[in-house]
């Protein structure tokens, strides 16, 4: 095996830009592995894992670009690295004349700013967020890997100043009709939502739009806001803001469960709400009762949408697939399975979808393993090796070290689809496709040939691989919802309007097949 690398000192590029370059390198014939990274300590380890070690790499830092290529053919390595300048240039955007060197400089020259959108690497993020707050800006903090003590400090500073910190690790938000981060394009309307779950908010807002209603605001809080150490500062501030907002008629909360003290504080606040509140704490088994006539608890995002539409006095209804249609479909699929086919494998870009699917399956008595388990007893020791029914969150930190999130880069999911399809006990593949701003321009297209290959692999051994999917998005999103759905259906994927419905269909298939095996 041959390998080579190039270091560019003091050339900083953001992670999405690097991903685009990495994608072109991976697509070059003969390239076995490649890395396009800034030389942070974590990335230097990644480089060493693919056999790239040198003192010049050790001496490089987070401001230095390293591009490495591994191939069986030394000529490929040489040739690919020689085209680096061309690649960098073809993806570079013209320098903006009004770019500033720092937040301080930007805020001093533009006194009308009110929101800082920060997506720098986690170790530097709190420093930038602090500066933005000091200049009186609210913060949308996309960066992950921000230390918890820094998150607490930021949120306390913000609270004292009456400012909102959405994040860290905040994927999405919609403020006043404007989508921030990974957001879907939805119409304005009476439904407000606050939540710690990025893809959960995307699904909720998209389904409300698809049903014909709309969103007033969707406030992301970051994944750790409801830990007792943070105390739900952003959730509570967001809730207050939605309650005071005249355009919001009903408030939904979508999140993983809060820790006990924070849950108590949040419930006390909800009890005083003058507007209807719907809480969907995914994975929470406890029934929350006695919090006043305005409060309802639901188990799924679909139910949250249905109830929100009801409270907002909207005549519109959640888009669902007909039950009779599902029965027919289930029967046809199961009849085509080979005798040893029995298990479900879910490969998710959206963490909430992985989590919610486990909840749906658990409710029907089907045990599910996961790298991000709802029930710790079903934690996958090795996330790369599925057991029985397994649902994998490919957006988990272990899969995104030095690699962009699966919502923009499908390489990990493509590989895993092939692995699962090679297992003769696998009957169902469950996938999610997420549309909207920043997401891949063609999420279905990214996986299409991998799905086709998987189905062919199964067919070659006389099996039928059932592929089930949900699309999170709207007709207004840049990826064209209808086209995404159509191309998936053309290769035999059963597409559902929501993750809840897709997971329920999978449960139906598994239970029906179990019943058939036991002669019931």
């Amino acid at each position: 095996m041959a390998s080579g690398f190039v270091i560019r000192k003091n050339e900083y590029y953001d992670s999405v830009f690097l991903m685009r370059i990495a994608k072109t390198l991976n697509e070059e014939p003969g390239v076995q592995q490649s890395a396009v990274v800034m030389a942070t300590d974590a990335n230097k380890k990644l480089l060493s894992d693919i056999g790239i070690t040198a003192s010049s790499v050790d001496q490089s830092g987070p401001n230095d670009l390293v591009v490495a290529v591994v191939s069986e053919n030394p000529a490929v390595v040489e040739q690919v690295l020689a085209t680096l300048d061309q690649r960098l240039q073809s993806f570079s955007k013209p320098t903006r004349p009004a770019s500033y060197r720092s937040i301080d400089e930007a805020a001093l020259s533009n006194t009308d700013t009110n929101l800082a959108v920060i997506s720098v690497p986690g170790e530097f993020a709190a420093r930038e967020a602090r500066k933005a707050l000091e200049r009186g800006n609210h913060v949308f903090l996309f960066s992950n890997n921000v230390p918890l003590d820094e998150e607490i400090e930021l949120k306390q500073i913000a609270q004292r100043r009456g400012l909102l910190v959405m994040g860290p690790d905040c994927g999405t938000g919609i403020i006043n009709g404007i989508g921030i981060g990974f957001a879907n394009i939805v119409r304005r309307g009476p439904v407000g939502v606050v939540g710690a779950s990025g893809t959960g908010l995307q699904e909720f807002t998209s389904l409300v739009h698809q049903a014909g209603s709309g969103i007033s605001h969707a406030i992301g809080t970051g994944s750790r806001d409801l830990l007792d150490a943070v105390g739900g500062i952003t959730t509570l501030m967001g809730f207050d803001a939605l309650e005071s907002d005249p355009t919001t008629r009903v408030i939904a909360i979508i999140s993983k469960p809060a820790q006990p003290e924070t849950l108590q504080r949040l419930m006390e606040r909800i009890q005083k709400s003058s507007k209807p509140v719907i809480a969907c704490f995914l994975g929470l088994e406890r029934h929350l009762a006695g919090y006043g006539p305005n409060f309802s608890q639901v188990q799924s995002i679909d139910e949250a949408v249905e109830l929100a539409l009801y409270h907002a006095a909207q005549k519109s209804k959640l888009v669902v697939r007909e039950e009779a249609d599902m029965e027919r479909l289930a029967e046809r699929e199961i009849n085509a399975w080979a005798p040893q086919q029995r298990y479900l494998r879910g490969l998710f870009a959206g963490g909430t979808f992985c989590y919610q699917s486990q909840q749906v399956l658990r409710a029907t008595g089907i045990p599910v393993y996961s790298n991000s388990p709802l029930d710790k007893r079903y934690h996958l020791e090795n996330p790369d090796i599925s057991l029985e029914n397994s649902l994998i969150d490919l957006g988990d930190d272990i899969y995104t070290q030095g690699i962009p999130h699966p919502m923009i880069y499908a390489v990990q999911r493509r590989k895993r689809i092939a692995v699962e399809a090679a297992d003769p006990e696998v009957a169902i593949l469950l996938l999610d496709f997420i549309l909207g701003y920043i997401a891949s321009p063609d999420p279905a297209g990214d996986l299409l040939d991998a799905i086709q290959d998987a189905k062919e692999t199964a067919a070659m051994r006389g099996a039928n691989l059932t592929v089930v999917a949900s699309i999170c998005g709207t007709d207004k999103d840049p990826q064209d919802y209808d086209r995404q759905k159509k191309v998936l259906e053309q290769v035999g994927v059963h597409v559902f309007p929501s993750n809840t419905q897709a997971a329920r269909f999978c449960a139906k298939l598994i239970l029906a097949a179990q019943g058939a095996r036991h002669g019931t």
């Binding site: 930007a106 959108v117 996309f142 100043r161 909102l164 006043n176 967001g238 701003y437």
Partner: protein, 57 residues
């Protein structure tokens, strides 16, 4: 201090984008005014040096 979240929900967003350029561009597509910070790790990413700089400034 009085929460300013109400202002955020009612006033037009004027954003400072720090980091991935696509985030700013998605806002611009929605007719939001975006001010870009051309960000790179401060002091070459040397944390001790960053702390020292922050104390001095």
């Amino acid at each position: 201090m009085e929460p300013k979240t109400g202002e955020l929900l009612t006033n037009p967003i004027v954003a400072i984008n720090v980091g991935v350029q696509d985030f700013g561009e998605a806002l611009e597509q929605q007719a939001v005014k975006v001010i870009y910070v051309d960000w790179a790790p401060p002091a070459g990413g040397d944390q001790e040096m960053i702390d020292l700089l922050d104390q001095l400034l």
